[in-house]
Symmetry: C2
Subunit: 254 residues, 2 copies
DNA sequence: CGCTGCTTTGAACAACTTCAACTTCTGTGG
DNA sequence: CCACAGAAGTTGAAGTTGTTCAAAGCAGCG
């Protein structure tokens, strides 16, 4: 339970200047005067409580959002009334970029816990980028990264076994926590098993069984939402390896 | 075999001004003088032959590309030596947006047939967008659309049956042909069954069987790469519907 | 304390994959 | 122009993985 914070999460009305997420967020590589301008257009909203919505499907697109603290999930309702979780969003990560094209949010964003976000009115941002090449570049970089990440996930969903999917998921979360200055080996998952299963394109039961198996194999410790990663290397192997070499890699530990 | 073209594909050195893909491409909603400026930075490369590469994994990112005619596939090699096809690219579609973030292409782009592309040096494009808000907006729109489309595919890969995946794939291709002024009910697939299977996260055999079944059910006519869509509605139902109601929807026809 | 929702576990079942054989197509050289 | 080799596609049967269904265990909360 020693979730050692290396950085402090920004509280509700800290400026970009003082924000610990600066290096992950839009302000990256922007300085002084320019940063103030960006800071000026940003609205800091009051925190969302668990299960509250940041936006709904079809909401008009006016702003993009950055998570300051807490976490959200985004999901799209499918025709047959189910949901497809399209992503989890941790501090410093952007939301809403998929709505620029159509002007409407194609998905729902729901807080998984108490969560605060910065709202960046898109029109103002676009104006600002006109005079700030570095800001524009950073925006394009972040969008590009999102495309890249989505493709990674596509790969995961298309090709990999349940084992590989959950491994990759845990590694991804772990890495993202690390980048934010938290422990990469011990953390709380704010999302339910159901959300994870949905996100990974698996049944809840399968995810549950995988958690159990990873624990039995000593790769992780999972006590409900509290996760400890014991064997990063094996996890990495499992995440990247095809069906053929899987058993080998797995029974090695069992 | 009446592949009626409603528009002519641009030949190798037609200007943006005269290009029939204008409405789908970056120039959309850009006019006269501005269009000339964009036109000036674009390099029209000599056509690629089938199986030639536009870029390789790790190639330095200098430009984004637009398909003028023909088609390409992009794919990433996975750790275990396999490939994951991440997309097919038809005339008017952009390639390379996933490389902005890292400065290196994360995937390979390979021509599926004789293919010509426009090369747009990214640095020049970024400069140009500084003085052309509409161009910037269009670039952001196109990137956003890519994120959105990727999420649709994630949904497909995560949730759907083989039947639904192939239906959705055929509908997607059909729609994209339509937008480009070709017939939406009759077209040639430039990619192999193998590529399709890989893209959809299925075994080749499964895809083959699905083609056969769709044909038996009278939904499509498939003679190798030549496809005729007979029953758009059923296809749409199959693409969007959950496992539960599937059989119903399918046997309805059989 | 007993409800509700989330998680875990077991067993039967279905979908897709794998393996293997066969057919059809493509293109290359004699 | 035909023959042949290799690639691509199709088909069948057996085997796995993951799903579904059903039920029990657990934590949180009024």
């Amino acid at each position: 339970m020693r979730d050692r914070k290396v950085i402090d999460l920004p509280s509700s009305n800290v400026s970009c200047n003082e924000c610990s997420l600066q290096q992950l967020c839009l302000p990256q590589s922007i300085n002084g005067n320019e940063l103030d301008k960006l800071d000026n257009i940003i609205e800091r909203k009051k925190p969302l409580k668990r299960n509250e919505y940041l936006f709904q499907v079809g909401s008009p697109f006016d702003s993009i959002y950055v998570v300051r603290s807490g976490s959200l999930k985004t999901y799209s309702p499918t025709i047959d009334g189910q949901e497809q979780v399209t992503g989890f969003h941790l501090p410093g990560e952007l939301l809403g970029l998929d709505a620029i094209g159509s002007g409407q949010h194609p998905c729902v964003a729901k807080a998984l816990e108490t969560t605060s976000v910065c709202e960046i009115p898109f029109e103002s941002l676009e104006e600002l980028t006109q005079s700030m090449p570095t800001l524009q570049h950073q925006l394009l970089r972040l969008m590009s990264k999102e495309i890249f990440d989505d493709q990674e996930l596509m790969l995961l969903l298309g090709k990999k076994t349940a084992e590989a999917r959950l491994s990759a998921f845990l590694l991804s979360i772990s890495l993202r926590f690390k980048q934010r200055g938290f422990s990469s080996t011990e953390f709380y998952l704010s999302m339910s098993r159901n959300d994870i299963a949905n996100y990974l394109g698996l049944a809840v039961e399968t995810v549950s069984r995988m958690f159990t198996r990873f624990q039995e194999d000593g790769i992780i410790n999972a006590e409900r939402k509290h996760i400890v990663i014991n064997d990063w290397d094996t996890l990495q192997q499992l995440a990247g390896i095809s069906q053929l070499s899987e058993k080998e890699a797995c029974t090695k530990k069992a």
